[in-house]
Symmetry: C2
Subunit: 137 residues, 2 copies
Amino acid sequence: MDIGEVAKLSGLPASTLRFYEQKGLIRSSGRHGLRRQFNEQVLQQLALISLACQVGFSLDDVGQMFQRADGEIDRQLLRDKAAELNGQIRRLTRMRDGLLHAAECQAPSHFECPNFLRILKLAGRRPRAGKNSAPST
Amino acid sequence: MDIGEVAKLSGLPASTLRFYEQKGLIRSSGRHGLRRQFNEQVLQQLALISLACQVGFSLDDVGQMFQRADGEIDRQLLRDKAAELNGQIRRLTRMRDGLLHAAECQAPSHFECPNFLRILKLAGRRPRAGKNSAPST
DNA sequence: TCTTGACCTAAAGTCGACTTGAAGTTGCAG
DNA sequence: CTGCAACTTCAAGTCGACTTTAGGTCAAGA
């Protein structure tokens, strides 16, 4: 498969695929002339990368988790990352419940509703957490 | 309270507080000479902003949700955002379960474990989702 | 053979969310 | 009254994750 085909099937632009290859997240199986050739397995890898990015992992995280140089699996790292996700799931749930409450609540401002404030349990205590993301659907 | 106090109490650098004020996410209650003065309510607002950022909302999202110019609450927007979070919670849960499975699984590579692949239900179907984030604990 | 569209590389640009730097001002402890 | 730490502004820089641009290369169909 050449890059255009992978782009079509994965929904990612070719530029992104080249960028990922450069970062070592995917590998082409060789070249046909100048052109990279990929085999089908790359589609699974790309789907995994996309999911990982969507849940907030950086591309470097993805590399560490799924393509260690020595081919070994760092099981402890995976457990740690799973634990991070648990924390994140808790935050998301809190936020969701807060939003749903605020949508129903009659208080004139979110900050005047003690319920809202309690649900969000304001006070993050997490300096230097990380960057951002877009939840989407 | 001047900005240093808010910085200390919120854990955010003063530069960030100025930046947020400039973006309209928080407001100072006035000035003492040149110096911004804040009242305590700002701490709640900052905690809310931090949580929102941590769950993946952009600063613009936060503005839309919590400080609409007209003082009105867009309840439908809040419900929509809550629904986004539900989608995201599902993805996080999927990813977490995949990671936990991979941490136990004996397959030599994640991609050779049909269980792992099934758990992640590879195939994202979400082009142009968003950027990134760091879940952290 | 010629054309053309899909591919190639390297470098620069973009975007959000801040951070850093330079240069200036000022409240207040001593 | 002085000194200076803590503030001020405005502009430019950084970082991750890409995207865009500029200038080629080349396989294959007409």
